[in-house]
Assembly symmetry: C2
Homo-oligomer: 116 residues x 2
Amino acid sequence: MSESTKRKLSGAALEKVSERFKALSEPMRLRLVYALMDGEKTVSELVRETGGVQANVSKHLSVLLDAGILGRRKQGTSSYYRIVDESIFELCDLVCGSIHDRLVAQLDELGAPPRS
Amino acid sequence: MSESTKRKLSGAALEKVSERFKALSEPMRLRLVYALMDGEKTVSELVRETGGVQANVSKHLSVLLDAGILGRRKQGTSSYYRIVDESIFELCDLVCGSIHDRLVAQLDELGAPPRS
DNA sequence: TCGTTACATTACTAGATAACGATATCACCA
DNA sequence: TGGTGATATCGTTATCTAGTAATGTAACGA
């Protein structure tokens, strides 16, 4: 487990960090990010895979683009989006781990009947 | 650098993960988390250190409490808050790193005059 | 018991934003 | 040039939420 620096952040840095978290705070945007795990895709493909509406998918994609999480390449009448910040997956893994740990702890608080 | 699993998440998991990110998407809440880096503190202490209003600080603290990021201990008329999910700092470190990398990349795009 | 201190909760307002239909833009082709 | 498909943007509405003042609650001391 990599150790954190625990360095205090300046006010401006806190703003930037919170903005990054905000970009990832919508289920639809996380769905798009995960849909792009296996390579770049067009908007239509993402619309099909996520079941979203075109205008909405397009807007969320531009939010992720502005946040520096995705990249875009235009070819013909299509736009191909791809992940450019791979640290996204480490972030999600960390969060999944801590959510898992918390649920296990809550189970233990109930008296841990199944174990022992 | 620890490698991510890149495992696809279910719909319910995506909801949970996005909720965790949402809890961290406010500068004020990050300020509170960082103020608690050096140990547990009372609400009044946090009000003093962050410059916030009591009601607002109290509300943000309860959001972080519900998210499982903070813990609370009551003693006398005071409430002592503390960090119970240390992975928070790794999250922030990751985000800081990727923000830094992105800024460096933007500098390079400008032609990298200083580093011939 | 009365007052005080510390904290939580409620009620309200202003601002942000997600979702969606409609429209605009742009590339391509006949 | 006109038509079509792909994407982006606009306008609107509904929902959410941060902030704040006022009030509620609980513990402690005189």
